[in-house]
Symmetry: none
Subunit: 257 residues, 2 copies
Amino acid sequence: MTLDKYEDVNVQIPPQPQPAIVLVRPQMGENIGAAARVMANFGLHDLRLVAPRDGWPNPKAQTMSAGAIKDTGPVRVYPNVGKAIADCSLGFAVTARLRDMEKDVYGPVEGCAELKAHTQNGSQVALLFGAESSGLNNEDVSLCDGIISYPVDKFFSSLNLAQAVAVIAYEWQVSLDREQNQQTLPSKIASKKAQIGLFEHLEEALENARFFYPPEKNPVMRQNIRNALIKARLTEQEVRTFRGIVRALAKGRGQQS
Amino acid sequence: MTLDKYEDVNVQIPPQPQPAIVLVRPQMGENIGAAARVMANFGLHDLRLVAPRDGWPNPKAQTMSAGAIKDTGPVRVYPNVGKAIADCSLGFAVTARLRDMEKDVYGPVEGCAELKAHTQNGSQVALLFGAESSGLNNEDVSLCDGIISYPVDKFFSSLNLAQAVAVIAYEWQVSLDREQNQQTLPSKIASKKAQIGLFEHLEEALENARFFYPPEKNPVMRQNIRNALIKARLTEQEVRTFRGIVRALAKGRGQQS
């Protein structure tokens, strides 16, 4: 291994835009470290952790990373998924379990191709992986634009977390190596921060309008609305337009027009 | 996990001929177990060990395999590479380090395609992986018909053994799926009638809220909103939800709430 050279690589601006790998509530440091190692094997360096169970830094993660994690860097830690992908325009949930949600489902090849098209457009994209025990919950997935699922054996489908990262890191690298086919660039999607801003704005207006009824259905209704809107892959301009729409529709409420 | 069913799968004759995964002088039981687990994830069950350092069976391997290794089976142990691949017609060495040997070098995609073509011909084929510390030696490689090499970062090229197995197991499965070329059905999109109903409902509400200003921009603004919403490919249910949203937000307008 050539760790010194690896450090040099980290300092440089990566030659290709690359996806953030987001581990959501990871439990075992060993898996975080193994994920970091295989990411580095395939040229990925943007590792983000959401609420790691054992805190951060984690000595076991560093040991298993074989040098890919130096001290705390370049790993970043966030309290929740929304903050972890705030700068991302597109996020795919990597999960074996398919949800009863309106999300596009991709294989790794197609999913990476889709993400790559957006990175070429200058967008930051993210791949989200759930915890070892429980995976991603529906709230996590509702912030994602699609699901990447692996062709696993239906009788033995539970992939180790670091192995799941290995497959996607490999496939990402392969997708880069594949011949550049001439595609029209997709339009640039608004950041998750902007998307979440719109969701929260709309939800607040709906709250005031007593839309969420009965109250126990509130979380499901919010998720359904987010899932529907996120499919639109709104641009920054479109997010502004929709916030204007919400403002315009809601402003008469409770006062003489 | 559904271990009982997994055992059933083992008892049956595999539906597709599959390569033997041969770990040559593996050191850590954890890596053997992780390799067995990810093999099972992707439908591979023929694991062979050549002179494992810590003997066999290995409790750490069984723990890490998450049920893929039961007692000693289905793993087979051999004293040397020649005996391990005696029944095979074709063997590829999986290694990052290229040798000064007259061997064909493949990427994972091409290597798996080549092996698959031979299994379809009734041949048993093998994929060989070296020890964690030292990899395959030249004597091992000399028994192989070709080399599979991964597109790793040249500055951080040392893959964990189980991760190397993960990539090939995944790629093998993908190569099988590629033939079948099956696609998941997209979710059913609302009729244009329903979509237009939503657009007009929203536009009328926005008209009442004096959102379209200045008037000469009205057609362009409507189009932009329609273009944004149409990207969501809303289902019938989602169209109903959004009409409910428009109704809820607009209903306070012009009257005491």
